[in-house]
Point group: C2
Chain length 141, copies 2
Amino acid sequence: MVRQKLNIITLGVKDLEKALEFYEHGLGWKRSVASQGDIVFFPLGGIILALYPRHLLAEDITINDDGKGFAGITLAINTKSETETDDILTLVQSLGATILKPAQKVFWGGYSGYFKDLDGHIFEVAFNPFVQFDDNDNLIM
Amino acid sequence: MVRQKLNIITLGVKDLEKALEFYEHGLGWKRSVASQGDIVFFPLGGIILALYPRHLLAEDITINDDGKGFAGITLAINTKSETETDDILTLVQSLGATILKPAQKVFWGGYSGYFKDLDGHIFEVAFNPFVQFDDNDNLIM
């Protein structure tokens, strides 16, 4: 059993400034103060939309962005421990998902892995020790 | 200004039964009673994950699923009127988005259109007269 929750939708973008013109200035969406550097977060109430340079997203997943197959979008399940991350990746692999990046310590201080489901949709399973959850398992951002 | 909200993530799937083996039986996620026919909804708290046959999703967007460019995933903004749908599509077009399907009456009884953002991510903007929103603008499902 996996908590019935997704925490972050990440859109890979070619030009972050142009994407911000669209989402932040154009739609009028307010960024989270947790935004930093190349990543900008928009809390949507129950899930967070993140904008992140597409080549860095591909690099984080450890796949080639060669125009074939990488949709440039990921869905993140945020876990509450490294063990939960491991358990989910083990489960989804047993269900036929493909592990794209085994769970590991990552540069931003968390512990994360990626899988793709039976249809190639890419999910990150991440433990971030710097975030907190509210009572509805939403990330507080 | 557009309400800072996304309501539905739709994953196009090649084989709905296999996808249900993964999400419903494998992960243990509970479907909404609003699921019917070829579409299955999983409420995630703040957003809904939908599984829908990929070829029907492409057909709904009115694009070819020729292996080039269609990521097989859409994000939906649910509006509260046909006018709001029109207004959002007009706004995003003025911001450089591409209208894939002008807003129109659709087979399930709603009024919907599709656009892609500057990076090709596909959004539906839909008024569904049969759904209600809670106080946080979440669809009640």
